[in-house]
């Protein structure tokens, strides 16, 4: 069978960085082809090359028989491209976004509606809502509709499910399989092992080169050190009686919408507490209240011994926080970021300097001391952000989806840092969409529609619900959600 995408000896470099070097592979018509590799391997560059947004320095790429350099105009009508970050206009409504993308390609929503019908039906109730107000999972579905509306032959999906909860991810992949039956070829990048397994064939890319092409089973076995590292084993530290977080009937309303609905729980000192929930279940809102970034509508709570209603600034002295969106200064160097935040927390100069060296050594970033943070790969940035959040030795560290979008090996390294911090007696409060990470936590709570639906150790939860892993428990509970995407 003639391949529909043909990549032959492609090389691309940005200034001095060789992003891709001699990359070749073929994609057969009608298959779901995975482009898998660690962060910074060159996957996004490859996607941009295939999408005719970049020109290769050497080699050539043909898609559907058209060359990406010579025939780019004709090719663009045959391609659907969904970049890693949301490509929607947040100020346009759902239907306006779809109509806009259709018009861009000279198509109408009506003529290709059958292609997106299944997906769009779920979005229909929200069609007059602005895209910026949709939940992560819904945004991805809309973005997929927009990439499909001109009926492309090949769909390029660059990490479409990063930051999306497991239930929405599963739905998203069901849609991909349906599209496959329609005969659409898909090239997709993903950091999730279950999604890697769902591809027909995949290429493993590392350091700008293709290291292997084959079925996901073969590849996962061959590159298991990066794609499925061994699990982390840890003796659960003896739970201490002292509670560092205590929350009673906490409520947060935005207008008529109740984001967090009477939640109560407590976290012991030194515990690793997993705070799970689907996109829009209210995790981030709850966490922001605990950190003193947002004022509760009602309810009481104490964090590190201070009241969350009145003593926000006191709380801030005793906690560290790492937000979902990477939020160190890209235009400052590694050591400068550390120094800035250490200074803000009031550490004296003679403590900052030696501790900085110590942290850089532990992170293995000593050589990157003078690198601008913006130039670091995502996985390194995340580990740096964690170290900055714990640099002042806080009582509690809050992590909001700290490992979004990185490969399993990098995530494992991140969890080693979490364990080190916990061993030093720092309480860890973490949200995540990775169910394997949920297994690493001491106790786990699962939020559904603003309420805490279950709270126990991972073992306890699995027993209660009779599921074999956390993924099963999560799906079971998250399916109960009626709120549907906010």
């Amino acid at each position: 069978m003639e391949p529909i995408v043909k990549v032959e000896g492609v090389a691309k470099c940005y200034r001095r960085v060789q992003a891709l070097d001699g990359v070749s592979f073929d994609v057969r018509p009608g298959e779901i082809f995975g482009l898998i590799g660690p962060d910074g391997a060159g996957k996004s560059t490859l996607f941009r090359l295939m999408a005719t947004l970049l020109c290769p320095e050497r080699g050539r790429i043909t898609v559907d028989g058209l060359d990406t350099v010579a025939d780019y105009r004709a090719l663009r009508c045959r391609l659907g491209y969904m970049p890693g970050r949301f490509s929607l206009y947040p100020d346009l409504t759902v239907e306006e976004n779809l109509a806009f993308y259709a018009t861009l390609f000279g198509a109408t929503v009506r003529e290709n509606y059958h292609l997106v019908e299944d997906i769009y039906r779920q979005l229909e109730p929200f069609k007059t809502r602005r895209a910026g107000h949709l939940s992560g999972g819904m945004k991805q579905k809309l973005a997929l509709c927009c990439a499909l509306i001109h009926k492309p032959a090949v769909l390029l999906l660059d990490e479409p499910t990063t930051g999306v909860d497991p239930v929405s991810r599963k739905e998203f992949w069901e849609m991909l399989r349906r599209l496959k039956r329609e005969g659409i070829t898909m090239v997709v990048a993903t950091p999730y092992p279950d999604e890697i397994r769902a591809t027909d064939r995949m290429a493993f890319i590392f350091g700008g080169q293709v290291r292997g092409v084959g079925t996901p089973e073969e590849m996962l076995a061959r590159f298991s050190d990066i794609l499925c590292p061994p699990g982390l084993a840890r003796e659960p530290a003896g739970a201490q009686a002292e509670h560092v977080i205590e929350v009673k009937d906490l409520v947060k309303r935005f207008g008529s919408f109740t984001a967090v609905d009477h939640i109560s729980f407590s976290v012991s000192k030194g515990e690793i507490f997993g705070f799970l929930g689907a996109n829009g279940a209210g995790k981030t809102t709850a966490m922001r209240m605990l950190c003193g970034l947002s004022r509760p509508t009602s309810g009481a709570g104490r964090v590190a011994g201070f009241d969350i209603n009145t003593q926000q600034e006191q709380i801030k002295k005793h906690i560290g926080y790492m937000s979902q969106k990477f939020s160190l200064y890209d235009d400052l160097k590694v050591w400068e970021n550390i120094r800035l935040f250490a200074g803000i927390y009031g550490l004296p100069e003679d403590v900052i300097a030696p501790r900085t060296e110590e942290v850089l050594r532990t992170l293995g970033l000593a050589a990157e001391r003078d690198t601008l943070v913006g130039a670091l790969p995502l996985g390194w940035k995340q580990r740096l952000a964690f170290s900055v959040a714990t640099f002042h030795r806080p009582d509690i560290v809050f992590l909001d989806e700290p490992t979004g979008g990185v490969d399993p090996k990098t995530r494992r390294q991140f969890w080693e840092l979490i364990y080190q911090a916990a061993d030093q007696g720092i309480t860890v409060f973490v949200t995540t969409h990775y169910m394997d990470e949920a297994e690493f936590c001491g106790r786990v709570s699962i939020m559904v529609d603003g309420r805490i639906r279950a709270l126990d150790t991972p073992e306890g939860l699995k027993q209660t619900f009779g599921e074999k892993d956390m993924d099963g428990v999560f799906h079971r509970l998250a399916r109960e959600a009626t709120r549907n995407a906010d």
Binding site: G292, E313, K316, K317, I319, Y321, S327, E336, G343, I344
Partner: protein, 363 residues
């Protein structure tokens, strides 16, 4: 103590910005090298059409006298007023001088003579100044001819700017515009920029005090403003020989107060904006109003009452007064107390509002 880290950070970020360091040098150069020539209110080379109905030696001498000045360019000699008006309509002439029949005879016999001047006032300043120059020239001529030069001689003495040099008048005003733009826009875009990149979140979750945060933003822009002022004043001295008559120390002192005022205002806007675009537009709106209502180009006294009230609530009004008084009149601090008081009030109001409106914990 914390301030040191914050200021260090702002300067590092500023230095690594691809645009701002260049802007800090280029902007004052541009303002001082080009603008004094462009912002010139002197009207030269008005195109003049003459309708000479008298055809006498005296009327020809008047026309020669007018045409020999720098202010007028004789472009047409029309046979009647209608034709000369056509010249104006075609855009060839700006002003018409109509000399009546019996002009010479009238001057000789002392009969009243009516010379008519018609100016195109589409550009009000140009029309107004052109007709007043022309009136002066004609009156001079008549006085000479009738031999009664001393009947009522007017003597005009331009105080503090004896040669009515427009550069001398405009340079202090341009300094004000320069400081307003640089130290207004940069802070306005700063906090909202941190909101857009998400770094503000990391700051908000630290125990950093609000005043320290705002001061950490104000001080770097204060320094930038003073650097810009220094470059601009050096250029004014080098290029035009314009040095302040009053104390340079006082100029720096007042500029320092003014920069804090306008930067505080910028930070205030930044706190309330959600995106850079919003902050840019809102700031632009206010700065245009501030600049136009400040007496920079048109005297405040000649504005309608409501506009004068608005000007009274405009920090630029006072700073422009101060700069002109210091540059041209050489006033001392004792003459400037009222302005100082007002500027200091504006400064405190804006700085306090900037701190107050910055929210570390949202509702």
């Amino acid at each position: 103590m914390v301030l040191k880290f914050l200021i260090e950070k702002e300067f590092k970020q500023m230095r690594r910005n691809p645009v701002i360091p260049r802007l800090i040098v280029l902007f004052p150069c541009m303002m001082m090298i080009l603008m004094p020539w462009a912002a010139n209110l002197e009207i030269k080379y008005n195109n003049l059409a003459v309708v000479d109905a008298d055809h006498s030696a005296t009327s020809r001498r008047l026309v020669e006298k007018v045409a020999s000045t720098d202010y007028f360019n004789l472009v047409a000699n029309a046979p009647d007023y209608g034709r000369s008006l056509e010249c104006v309509e075609r855009g060839e002439a700006d002003i018409i001088l109509e000399i009546p029949d019996h002009f010479e005879k009238g001057l000789a016999t002392g009969q009243p003579v009516e010379v008519q001047i018609s100016a195109n006032a589409v550009n009000g300043t140009k029309g107004g100044l052109g007709s007043s120059y022309l009136t002066t020239v004609v009156n001079d001529f008549v006085a000479q001819e009738t031999g009664a030069p001393d009947a009522a001689r007017l003597s005009v003495l331009n105080l503090y700017n004896p040669h009515q040099d427009y550069k001398l008048f405009m340079v202090p005003a341009l300094l004000v515009v320069l400081l307003t733009l640089v130290s207004g826009f940069l802070p306005a875009l700063n906090i909202v920029g941190e909101k857009e990149t998400g770094t503000i979140e990391q700051i908000n979750v630290t125990p950093l005090g609000k005043s320290a945060f705002i001061l950490g933003k104000l001080i770097p822009y204060w320094v930038v403003g003073l650097v810009v002022l220094t470059i601009a004043m050096a250029l004014a001295a080098l290029l035009y020989g314009i040095v302040p008559v009053g104390s340079v120390g006082l100029i720096y002192f007042f500029s320092g107060v003014f920069i804090l005022t306008i930067s505080g205002f910028g930070l205030l806007i930044s706190n309330y904006s959600g995106t850079m675009q919003q902050a840019m537009f809102v700031m632009f709106f206010f700065l245009i109003v501030f600049i136009l209502m400040s007496g920079l180009f048109t005297p405040v006294r000649s504005m309608p009452q409501w506009a004068q009230w608005m000007a009274a609530f405009n920090p630029l009004t006072y700073f422009i007064q101060v700069m002109r008084m210091l540059f041209l009149k050489g006033c001392g601090l004792s003459d400037l107390w009222p302005q100082l008081g007002k500027l200091l009030s504006f400064m405190s109001v804006f700085a306090v509002a900037a701190v107050w409106s910055y929210r570390k914990t949202n509702g």
